[in-house]
Amino acid sequence: MAHAATHDHDDHHGAPKGFFQRWVMSTNHKDIGTLYLIFSLTMFFIGGAFAMVIRAELFKPGMQLVQPYFFNEMTTMHALVMIFGAIMPAFVGLANWMVPLMVGAPDMALPRMNNLSFWILPFAFFMLLSTLFMPGGGPAGGWTMYPPLSLQGESVAYVIFAIHLMGISSIMGAINIIATILNMRAPGMDLLKMPVFVWSWLITAFLLIAVMPVLAGAVTMLLTDKYFHTNFFNAAGGGDPVLFQHIFWFFGHPEVYIMILPAFGIISEIIPTFARKPIFGYRAMVFAIASIAFLSFIVWAHHMFAVGLPMGAEIFFMYATMLIAVPTGVKVFNWVSTMWGGSMTFETPMLFSIAFVILFTIGGFSGLMLALAPADFQYHDTYFVVAHFHYVLVTGAAFSIMAAAYYWIPKWSGHMYSETWGKIHFWSSVISVNVLFFPQHFLGLAGMPRRIPDYNVAFANFNMISSIGGFWFGASQLIFLGVIIHCVFFSKKKAADRSWEGAKGLEWTVPSPAPFHTFDVPPVIHDDELAHGNTDH
């Protein structure tokens, strides 16, 4: 039996005492998870600061604050930092903390690689951000790096090296998560009994392994075009600028699902907890995530409807894209059905989850509209698109991360956060984020292109409203920071092991805060303790 092996050595030591030993040399999934989350929060504020510059310049017509080139650096950096620095590491951090706890594993399968995949990131972002202080400035060709424009920049080599590092980090993280989920589950934790969050990450990890090398290939071709006289994307040398867009979006579309599938998982954990009712249609939820992941590989050119694709291609990518609405709809309907007939309370994680369902769905609606190629000829590259992807990424991905933080922080810190301040953070965020992004739909429909530093006075009012919402939303996140710091260091309210009345799953069977080592001995699994898979359907 497994028990015999673990009794051979005394492994019940705590965390290393030295700061350097504990944090820099860590191989502990909880500490590395914490590092990821702190890193992500830092990047969230840095990327947010860039967004504040953008919204400040767009506050009214005329150029008041920055030069147009610097404005482009801000839009580019805002996207790169938020995508690769804030959203993705936050999900990896959550996976690090929660996947072993949720499947009854003692740690991640590959702890040293875990350390490496985290510690690459600060260096990658140091390099990326340092370009802002160099002569010639940072990247200003958009996060999509379309050539020939992106090759006009002086910082190409730095940016591409940074992206390679981020890619290596992501791939290692993904390998680790797959290895952990497939090999380290406690006996009795069948695949179809796993929490939806674990399922969502398993599928996401495969997406990461599939597409990060594609991005690496695309940017390497940019690098050789810039410095080694190749002509992959140079029309004058027989290359094709559109080729880059195909390769980029073959990465890019799965990438946007990498940023939303774990969010689906989180929401599928939180809503059943606070509705006190099992998730509706567990298998359908898992199958929907898998279908969305599959479809993500065959829709990339819907980002390119205006590049002049042949009509057959436009029709194919339009139909394939529209199909995504079906599994996504299933997820939304199932979340609503989980709430129906429940016994709901509305603590902060639940509030963020409900806001997620509504606002992500609004982002989904605009996504459906964008999928219609003829209409996209108008929407494309306007603020309508900006509104769309901020609804799915801010009120989608970022809100799910906030929901997760509130949901699991009692388990991480051993303390309850301030519910009052959590709710203040929620209401302030949810109102301001709509003031920020909803008017952008109108701006786009009225004809305002994206990525412009200045605009005609017809667009003035909605831009001002949007900017006010932006500053307000930015300031609201300081409340979030305050709630976290208070919870971790100052809160007197001890968290129970099962911190939420309706919470199910293995993570709630260990003490709060979770000890440095958990599940040294695989837990004996009782099906009725699991959140999912315990009913016969």
Partner: protein, 282 residues
């Protein structure tokens, strides 16, 4: 809500909330409105159900959680119904796409070239006859350009043409086209990728180096229609507007003739200038 109702705005108006109906024979406006209403109806149903659930099934109202977590019947319904709605939308969109993609039968061809940060227009043919050397560069007009400089302290509100604010939406030399003629645009990029977009014409098309894209319009009403570059193309991406001046056919033909004459005079002048230098050309 006048700003939400369907109007054929030639140019953006203050507080405009919806897409223009456009002035061309082809317009995605109807498609857009159908999709919008489909989304609104589904949204009302789904969010309505959510709010009812949040009200009825609260613990504070004594709700006791039920145990069910599955219903094959419901799941089939909400897989099949969206598919039917999507087929309807796809059918509509395919029709729109087919008409848009058909650039044949055009009576006129204009070549559009995007440069950092201006547009060049070349008139290629009109009514089956080649146009002789009519082409020009069109860029942001001077007062907007002065005003948009960082800390210029000039007021964007003051830049007006006929009572309409044209800040960043006016050029030194507009593209002149006839109404009621199917015009084919050949769109290319001269340096980086740009995108030629006039909302009133209903589409945008990327201007890519090395690729000749085609699109068409058939403007129904005379007027001045403004647009902007829609693909990030560098520091002055926000400052390369597009102005299309649509005029009645007769007026256009007269304008075109004048332009051809001017081109001839210019060419003659150039030849005269070059005459003293007998260096063989080409």
């Amino acid at each position: 809500m006048a700003l939400f109702g369907g109007e054929a705005w030639a140019n953006p108006v203050a507080n405009q909330m919806n897409m223009t109906k456009g002035v061309s024979e082809w317009s995605p406006y109807a498609m857009h409105m159908v999709a919008l209403w489909v989304c609104v109806v589904i949204g009302v149903l789904v969010f309505g159900a959510m709010f009812i659930a949040m009200f009825r099934f609260r613990k504070s109202r004594g709700a006791v959680a039920e145990k069910w977590a599955h219903s094959t019947k419901l799941e089939v319904v909400w897989t099949v119904v969206p598919v039917i709605i999507l087929i309807f939308l796809a059918n509509l969109a395919t029709g729109g796409l087919t008409t848009f993609a058909d650039t044949t039968g055009a009576d006129m061809t204009i070549k559009v070239t995007g440069y950092q940060w201006k547009w060049r227009y070349d008139y290629v043919d009109y009514k089956g006859k080649g146009v002789d050397k009519v082409g020009f560069v069109s860029k942001l007009e001077e007062s907007s350009d002065r005003t948009r400089q960082l800390k210029s302290n000039l007021d964007p509100e003051k830049i007006q043409v006929e009572g309409y604010n044209t800040y960043l939406l006016d050029v030194d030399k507009p593209l002149v086209v006839p109404v009621g003629v199917k015009i084919r645009f050949i769109i290319v990029g001269g340096d980086v990728i740009h995108s030629w977009w006039v909302p009133a014409l209903g589409w945008k098309m990327d201007a890519i180096p090395g690729i000749a894209n085609a699109a068409w319009t058939n403007i129904k009403e005379p007027g001045v229609y403004r647009g902007q570059c829609a693909e990030l193309c560098g520091q002055d991406h926000g400052f390369m507007p597009i102005v299309v001046k649509a005029v009645p056919k007769a007026e256009f033909e007269q304008w075109l003739a004048t332009q051809e004459d001017e081109a001839k005079i210019q060419k003659a002048a150039q030849t005269a200038q070059n005459a003293p230098a007998p260096a063989p050309q080409g």
